[in-house]
């Protein structure tokens, strides 16, 4: 269930990053790539659920969520694809 909080953090990190480039946050994100680190315990399905609920109606709604696994500790936002 900690995935709910981590989804909030991820949403905030993406928002802050995009605001630097698009202050109005008016560009739709089509894909977000995350990296799940070790020994972090994040369940993809659970994160998917919370992230999708959280981002409904936002620039992240319906973005494809892609995951990778890394050795570093933590949960990372690797990149986002923005519509041009």
């Amino acid at each position: 269930m900690h995935e709910a909080k981590i989804a909030e953090y991820a949403f905030a990190v993406i928002s802050e990053t995009l605001k630097e480039k698009y202050p109005a946050l008016d560009k739709k994100v089509t894909k977000a790539t995350f990296a799940i680190g070790k020994p972090f315990t994040v369940m993809r399905d659970s994160f998917d659920f919370y992230f999708c609920e959280l981002t409904k109606g936002s620039f992240l709604e319906d973005a494809e969520l892609v995951y990778d696994y890394v050795e570093e500790e933590g949960f990372f936002v690797v990149s986002v694809d923005v519509e041009t």
Partner: protein
């Protein structure tokens, strides 16, 4: 168009955790994050520990629970600052909750802050609250297989208090084997056997705790 982000989202929590830790360090206050599964004995440990150190040190408690203030009520007899955090279903405390709770009492008037986390052997391990030390209460009544099953929690603890050891025989638990398993997961952790409801078994724990409180007071910066 791809935009690289490359950020660990946990910095959102750890940044506030680091602020909390700086505050504790600057005041010479020890912060102890007590974690365990539900019913392992966190509150009983606090009940007995608070009584044993009360003549020497001033304590405060931040109580984390999903619902109710039952644990906080058990500690009211000590007449110390107690801040109740109800997570309303949330499975862990995070650093921002602690930051808010620290505004509810005068930290200059305490030597040690105990944070009783939400009972859960998974989620709290991922959230740094800004504590200097993490104490895991592991009741052997939960079964001897828990260290390997919940390895992250055991790996991130500074102290593992193996609790309810008076029930080891009834539960058919080999304490030496359990301790060995914990050591293999976390060689640095201090492992102590206790029965939290029996103050006589808490001497080593209290001795360690008092040493840590003294260290924190001396290293005030």
């Amino acid at each position: 168009m791809e935009i690289k982000v490359l950020k660990n989202v946990m910095i959102k929590n750890s940044a506030v955790g680091n602020d909390n830790r700086r505050l504790f360090n600057s005041k010479g206050v020890l912060a102890v994050n007590i974690v365990s599964s539900p019913g392992a004995g966190k509150t009983t440990l606090l009940e007995n520990s608070l009584g044993l150190i009360a003549s020497k040190y001033k304590s405060a408690v931040i109580e984390g629970d999903l619902y109710t203030s039952r644990d906080a009520e058990r500690l009211q007899k000590f007449n110390i600052p107690i801040v109740q955090i109800n997570t309303e279903g949330g499975c862990h405390l995070d650093a921002r909750m602690i930051s808010g709770a620290l505004k509810e009492f005068d930290i200059d008037k305490v030597d040690v802050v105990f944070i009783e986390n939400v009972g859960n052997l998974v989620c709290p391990s991922a959230f740094d609250l800004g504590e200097q030390t993490r104490v895991l209460v592991y009741a052997i009544t939960e079964g001897a297989d828990k260290p390997q099953k919940y390895a992250t929690m055991f790996k991130t603890a500074n102290v593992v208090l193996v609790n309810k050891t008076d029930l080891a025989q009834i539960c058919d638990v080999d304490l030496l084997a359990v301790e060995q398993e914990i050591k293999e997961l976390n060689p640095q952790a201090l492992i102590l056997r206790i029965s939290a409801n029996n103050s006589n078994t808490l001497k080593d724990w209290i001795c360690w705790l008092e040493g840590k409180i003294e260290s924190s007071k001396k290293s005030k910066n």
